[in-house]
Amino acid sequence: MPFLILLIKASLIYGGLLVTAAVMTLAERKISARIQLRIGPNRVGPGGVLQPLADGVKFILKEEITPDGANKGIFRLAPIMAAVPAMLTVAVIPFAGETVIFGLDFGLLSLTDLDIGLLFVLAFSGLSVYGVILGGWASNSKYSLLGGLRASAQMVSYELSLIMTALTVVALSGSMDLREIVEVQNTGNPLAWNCFTPVVGQVGLVLFVIATFAETNRHPFDFAECEPELVGGFHTEYSSMKFALFFLGEYCAMTVMACLTTVLFLGGYSVPFWEDAPWMVELATFMAKTSFFLFLFIWVRWTLPRFRYDQLMNLGWKVFLPIALANLLLAGAFISLT
């Protein structure tokens, strides 16, 4: 029975993740259309809601091309490497507290609550860059290679600030277990959320959000793709379902990163002024908070132009890292004072 429950939970959570990724592709196009005073996809289904399905069918029916001179094994491995880590990380995200569906006790709503949940997420999201690098290298194309190289350099410089900022939260809540981090913030008082910790929380939130943009290769940091310079960057040579996997990986990574930001800074599933809320309310709260960050991903993409590559490096090493370190120090001071 516990195995069955785990199976149901896994299919629900992964199904939810994939559906979110699909909805995000539609939302991306719809919101970009609104921002540019266009209408966006509206032909498939009412208001275009079935567009992701049509896209999926199209991806499957497209011809798969492997370029001459490509390293075939790695060329095939790369999309998997890009998509799987992004999907794995969702396993430790706590979506709600004690859950009972139709009298069936599902326990705490997350696949697993690791003691080192945060480390797990960071480690696996760090892995996803391998997909980009390997894909760029195996394609036997100069554009892909440059895209892959940029991605690797960018990941290193931003992962540092990302981890430093995550560390401030670990210091504040005294745990690496994501559920523990949420429970510390879940006091019924929204001011207990980490983003309301004076100075440390706000600086941390801003840094963390920007770092997740870089981490997931999103605008304005999408140098791995960078259409005007590198055609399509690391996925120039990819077609059909292989390309779709990269795409899926990117959107899954975005979703997970939005979840993580919610957990670390916005109190996860904690409902304001209602400490012991039923799981459905908690889940809805979690989804509302996460969708704000997902919206932010899209919103920023259609507002800002891409950075120049050296600007990105300057920002990463000379601005973000010092601020993140100072913030960590400040967090330490804050903890010892309170």
């Binding site: 919101i31 259309a33 609104r34 921002i35 540019q36 005073l37 266009r38 209408i39 801003v206 919103w299 920023v300 259609w302 507002t303 800002l304």
Partner: protein, 166 residues
């Protein structure tokens, strides 16, 4: 040598984040503005009398075609899109076309046929859409080209007005 004077950025602007927020606010406001897209097949482009669409033949109110198959439009056509075979008729005008084909793939919508026509028989209509699955289907014959005078009336009035200037 031109020296471009660039404005010094203020401290607030160099902080960068406030300016990003300003940009975000602008794009957020844009989301609620009316959209400018025209849904083309459903909402066609508005046309006027000046619109020079595909050529069409006028059918007079008594149901007869105005063309007398003089061949002037055929001669004027720079793209050789028009083919006319004439025949005799009992009507007062004595001649009318037996075959009047316009190859719409050749037609460049220049309007020379309209200018050449002495009988007000061919006009550039406001029809702009041209699509088919075969090339043969785009060679329009006389039946496909016939339009009543009333549908072409705005264009007829416009052409008369232009011609009155000379």
């Amino acid at each position: 040598m031109v020296v471009v004077q660039r404005r010094e950025l203020t401290f607030w602007e160099r902080m960068y984040l406030p300016e990003i927020v300003r940009g975000l606010v602008i794009t957020f406001k844009k989301m609620f503005e009316p959209r400018v897209t025209r849904q083309y097949p459903e909402q066609a482009m508005p046309t006027t009398a000046v619109t020079r669409g595909q050529p069409r033949l006028t059918v007079k109110d008594d149901g007869n075609i105005a063309c007398v198959s003089c061949g002037l439009c055929e001669a004027a056509c720079p793209a050789y899109a028009i083919t006319i075979d004439g025949k005799e008729t009992d009507r007062f005008i004595e001649r009318e076309p037996e075959r009047f084909d316009i190859d719409m793939l050749r037609c460049i919508l220049c309007g020379f046929c309209e200018e050449a026509c002495p009988k007000e028989a061919i006009f550039m209509s406001n029809e702009l859409e041209l699509a088919n699955t075969t090339r043969e289907g785009l060679v329009y014959d006389m039946e496909q080209l016939k339009r009543s005078t009333s549908t072409l009336q705005p264009r007829i009035d416009y052409v008369r007005k232009i011609n009155d200037r000379w």
